[in-house]
């Protein structure tokens, strides 16, 4: 047995005006799960604690709660000392019990044909992973979109795709999904990362449904414009100023010895909207021994098309990009756009390695910058945190320059074609970011994705900067101090 201290959300709407937290010290067995901790509280300390459970083996989806803010199944998550247990972000009935029923009832049901058709093996193989959903609603709790706009939510979309693919169903699920908010998903992947069954809802359901919607001509007009632009210009944004690629040579040699040579994939946003930031990054790389090769014929990675279900032109883009680097015998391609990085890593099959700039800089180490007397907060880009699993590396870099105050990692609303397709939703999500930024009291906001940076800039009065810009400012400060104190 071991003792644990645990903080539990308590709320009885029939008696309490507001929720409160109660701390318990409980004895549990080695290997106990969060559920067993709740049992221990219920049995030894407080029989009035309400929580839901049933199978105790991760199969029924009754017991989802949030542990330290993250949705988990109580019966599968190992109990740890010092955790906080809260209900899912759904209407609370009592303590840890939330009202699941309205959502469960909203998930579509199969409308069978009179005659029986057996789905073929390939359809079964596609549907099977979607069917492992236990409807615990962890994904619904985690989804940022449905907190600001009418959206059926991740698992309803999952079932819609399943029904759309199933030859036994008779209804038009694609149109139904579009009406239910198919285009409100920002591709933030929060739903996938909290799914106890690891169902990749954005990639395996929502993008697939959007592709089916595209075939029906239901793609949003703004998204169609983006596709047109990509086809015509190779870029997903319009050129309004001198691009990054127009300003740099094909090879940038570092100052001092070469630690590594990489090919650089700039991406549309840093090329055409925020070229200055990309130039800052080049300065940082130059100073840290990285030789950069920049093929000028590179084009859009295709992410804006994949996320919106417009995949016809994708293979052309992929081939052009891969060829551009393979032709120069490049074995490592560097990305600094989180979206491009995630796309090259997850949607491409590349003969080269893809590295995000945070990975590269921490791998080879950086010259220490000077510290700036600023308090910063960091916005995790979805396509870096969840798309590439990179959480700590940016923080390691940032804290070398400034003090970091954390805020919750929530989507800013700019991804998945939402900023162009449903701007009011994107704005609502960014306003929630504004609130979180305010709460931290930070002087500046740091991120590592052009979409996030560009979008958040419009919704905060704090400066929003890329990590490499921050590093460069640290170097400039260092140089300035050196100038002041000549040796």
């Amino acid at each position: 047995m071991k003792e644990m201290s645990v903080r539990v959300f308590r709320f009885d709407p029939s008696e309490d005006k507001a929720p409160h937290y109660q701390t318990y010290h409980v004895q549990v067995n080695e290997g106990a799960r969060v559920l067993h901790l709740l049992h221990a509280i219920h049995e030894e300390h407080d029989p009035t604690l309400s929580y839901r459970y049933c199978c105790g083996s991760g199969q029924c989806g009754s017991c989802a709660v949030r542990v330290n803010g993250e949705p988990v199944l109580a019966c599968m998550e190992e109990a740890r000392d010092g955790i906080t247990i809260e209900p899912l972000e759904l209407p609370v009935q009592k303590d840890l019990m939330v009202d699941l029923e309205p959502y469960l009832a909203s998930i579509s049901s199969l409308a069978p044909r009179e005659e029986f058709v057996m789905p073929p093996q390939d359809v079964v193989d596609t549907i099977k992973p979607l069917r492992s959903c236990i409807e615990c609603l962890a994904c619904v709790s985690a989804c940022p979109a449905l907190k600001v706009i009418a959206f059926a939510g991740p698992t309803a979309m999952r079932e819609d795709l399943r029904l759309a693919l199933d030859p036994r169903d008779t209804e038009d699920r694609v149109t139904e999904a579009v009406k239910a908010g198919l285009f409100t998903c920002t591709s933030c992947q929060a739903c996938w990362k909290v799914c106890p069954k690891d169902i990749q809802i954005p990639g395996k359901a929502i993008e697939k449904l959007r592709a089916l919607a595209n075939k029906k001509g239901l793609t949003l007009p703004r998204h169609q414009e983006v596709e047109k632009l990509v086809k015509e210009t190779g870029r997903s944004v319009v050129r309004t100023e001198t691009s990054f690629l127009e300003q740099v040579p094909e090879v940038i040699e570092p100052v001092g010895p070469v630690k590594a040579t990489v090919g650089f994939f700039v991406g549309c946003m840093y090329n055409l909207r925020l070229p200055k930031t990309a130039l800052d990054a080049m300065e940082v790389l130059k100073r840290n021994g990285i030789r950069v090769i920049i093929p000028k014929e590179q084009v859009c990675c295709g992410s804006p098309l994949i996320r919106t279900g417009q995949v016809d032109y994708l293979d052309t883009l992929k081939r052009r990009n891969i060829d551009a680097f393979v032709f120069r015998k490049i074995d490592t391609v560097l990305t600094m756009c989180a979206g491009c990085g995630s796309t090259l890593k997850n949607d491409y099959t590349t003969p080269f390695r893809v590295m995000d700039i945070n990975e590269l800089l921490t791998k080879f180490g950086i010259e220490p910058p000077a510290r700036l007397s600023l308090k910063a907060t960091y916005h995790d880009p979805c396509h870096l945190l969840r798309g590439q699993g990179i959480r700590d590396l940016p923080r390691e870099l940032i804290t070398q320059v400034v003090d970091l105050v954390e805020m919750p990692s929530i989507c800013c609303g700019s991804g998945g074609g939402v900023r162009s397709g449903i701007p009011e939703e994107a704005a609502a999500l960014a306003e929630k970011r504004r609130d979180e930024i305010e709460k931290t009291g930070a002087d500046i906001v740091i991120s590592s994705c052009p979409f996030c940076e560009f979008h958040i800039m419009e919704h905060t009065d704090r400066p929003v900067k890329n990590i490499t810009t921050l590093l460069l400012e640290g170097y400039r400060e260092k140089d300035r101090k050196k100038m002041e104190k000549p040796v």
Binding site: E30, P47, T48, G56, G58, S109, Q121, V124, R168
Partner: protein
């Protein structure tokens, strides 16, 4: 909805919900029954949990037995089931099970179930214990979950009214006829429903044991409700101990490790690395029937050849990794969560209380011995005899769920009376819990330990008598509810005590070893086929064992 109102303990209103068919239970059998019954009249389904999440169907991993191939036959399925059940099964029920199981899986497929298929677009089947043909259909190792998802889908469009998270605490009777049920929700509010017919589909009750595969709802509610209403129960001593339950971590002990692991080729070994099944059943080895494998494992452990955590090894590391990943994904995921990668290291397993073969005596239409009361699924007895074959329970839920639903649906509409004094008696019962002094969890814990020690795999009259004394003592303790939300819990513990007592009394009545029931203190000269005994039976008034009745 009626509001339970302590300190006066009166229902606030004299109104009742009315329906044609009331289904109690939301597992595979209950939902199947509701789908069928709703074709005939207004149907209400009461679920103790959120419907679709409770019960054991959704946890059932391995599969569903059905004869689907030309090379297989219903006669073989019948013979396998009877033999596996030590010929204690009711042959008429088995005949129906094997004949109708293929039709019922076709219902599921039509409604959208996603079973694994072969490259010839047929439902895939795998071998399971005690069967001469691989006839177990599956959806990976989440077959029951797939069925439940499909059934819930279907029920949603059937017009059935589903009432969630209400525990039934009493069946109303008018003279000898069941006329409805009284439920209590999690706030302690009472709900009375009047029905022409009532179907018990409350599942099993192996939560009465310390180590069990059952979900939290496996507390034997239906056995207790049926018994108190005066129905006959048969063969309650026949409790299946599944051979392979997890042994670690401690709090998750008993968690089911599906038979599909052995069906896919998993091997059992003791701590000396011996494939010990060769000593107990050299022909069928790991795929012997569950009673045999459980006893073999228990014997290995008792004789000191167990593992550190008190189990034996179940090993699939010799199988291709891709086979483990695609056919046993739930097992892989669960063990990974507990720090064991079954692709690289063996699992540790030991027997765990799994299924009660006994239950309410039913006709082929699920009619119990009390008019207007039906039963289907695990709460009913007779289908599986003295030992259930893996894969037959899911089939049972569908075949008899449909039959009970249809029979109840076809039953005539009538004037149903609920007597005020019955409600008052229940209000008094609940009020008593506010005066009590012992928490339900305390009683449940003591019961579970006593049952595991005294009425487990190996039994003697002495141990059984001792266990019965413990049950009597526990039943005499004044249960305590800390608040209205704990009232249902108190009723549930009373159901557990009743179920345990039925199991132990059944075990004392059956003075032979048969199937899952082993009496170490009885020497017998007969085998299952020539046994002089038929069903044990118990009701409010009397109990006994049938003799001279042969299958």
């Amino acid at each position: 909805m009626y509001v339970y109102d302590p300190p006066y303990n009166k229902m606030r209103s004299a109104e009742f919900l009315d329906c044609h068919v009331l289904v109690i239970g939301s597992g595979g059998a209950g939902v199947r029954a509701a789908i069928e019954a709703s074709c005939y009249g207004e149907t209400i389904l009461l679920s103790k949990t959120i419907a679709g999440k409770g019960g054991c169907t959704t946890m059932a991993e391995g599969g569903y037995n059905a004869v689907l191939r030309e090379e297989d036959s219903c006669e073989d399925h019948f013979e396998d089931t009877m033999k596996g059940g030590a010929y204690l099964n009711d042959p008429a029920l088995v005949r129906i099970l094997v004949d109708e199981s293929p039709e019922r899986i076709r219902d599921l497929l039509k409604w959208g179930a996603v079973f694994d298929v072969t490259d010839r677009c047929e439902v895939a089947q795998r071998p399971f214990g005690g069967q001469c043909f691989p006839r177990t259909c599956y959806a990976g190792d989440r077959t029951g979950h797939e069925m439940m998802a499909t059934l819930m889908d279907r029920m949603a469009s059937s017009g059935t009214e589903v009432i969630q998270e209400v525990s039934v605490i009493h069946l109303f009777k008018d003279e000898n006829t069941v006329t409805g049920a009284l439920g209590i929700d999690r706030n302690g509010e009472l709900l009375a429903i009047r029905s022409d017919s009532t179907i018990l589909a409350t599942g099993g009750g192996t939560r009465i044991y310390d180590i069990s595969t059952n979900s939290s709802s496996g507390t034997g509610d239906g056995y207790a409700l049926g018994f108190r209403a005066g129905a006959d129960l048969i063969d309650m001593e026949q409790v299946q101990f599944h051979p392979t339950g997890a042994v670690f971590p401690y709090d998750a002990r008993g968690r089911l490790v599906t038979e599909a692991v052995r069906g896919e080729g998993g091997i059992l070994k003791n701590s000396l690395n011996e494939r010990f099944m060769s000593r107990y059943d050299p022909e069928r080895m790991e795929l012997s029937t569950r009673d045999v494998v459980s006893r073999s494992i228990a014997t290995e452990i008792l004789e000191g050849r167990g593992t550190g955590h008190g189990g034996v090894y179940l090993d699939v590391t010799h199988l291709p990794r891709s086979q483990i990943e695609s056919r046993l994904p739930v097992m892989l995921e669960q063990f990974l969560k507990f720090g064991v990668d079954i692709r690289d290291e063996p699992m540790e397993v030991a027997p765990t209380a799994h299924h009660i073969m006994g239950g309410l005596r039913i006709s082929t239409d699920g009619q119990t011995t009390i008019p207007c009361l039906y039963a289907c699924g695990e709460v009913a007895g007779g289908v599986h005899g003295a030992n259930r074959l893996g894969g037959n329970a899911l089939a049972d839920t569908q075949v008899f769920g449909k039959r009970a639903g249809e029979a109840a649906g076809r039953s005539r509409k009538r004037v149903k009376k609920i007597h005020r004094k019955e409600i008052e008696a229940q209000e008094k019962r609940l009020a008593g819990f506010h005066e009590g002094s012992v928490l339900p969890t305390t009683i449940a814990r003591s019961l579970q330990t006593a049952m595991w020690e005294g009425a487990g795999i190996f039994r003697t009259a002495r141990e059984l008598e001792k266990t019965l004394e413990v049950i009597k003592h526990l039943s005499s303790l004044p249960l305590k509810a800390t608040g209205n939300s704990n009232l249902a819990e108190c009723c549930t513990v009373q159901n557990m005590l009743r179920t345990a007592s039925l199991v132990v009394r059944g075990a004392l009545l059956r003075k032979e070893s048969r199937g899952a029931h082993v009496r170490k203190d009885v020497t017998q000269t007969w085998d299952a086929k020539s046994s002089p005994y038929g069903h044990t039976w118990q009701n409010l008034k009397d109990s006994g064992v049938e003799t001279g009745v042969k299958a």
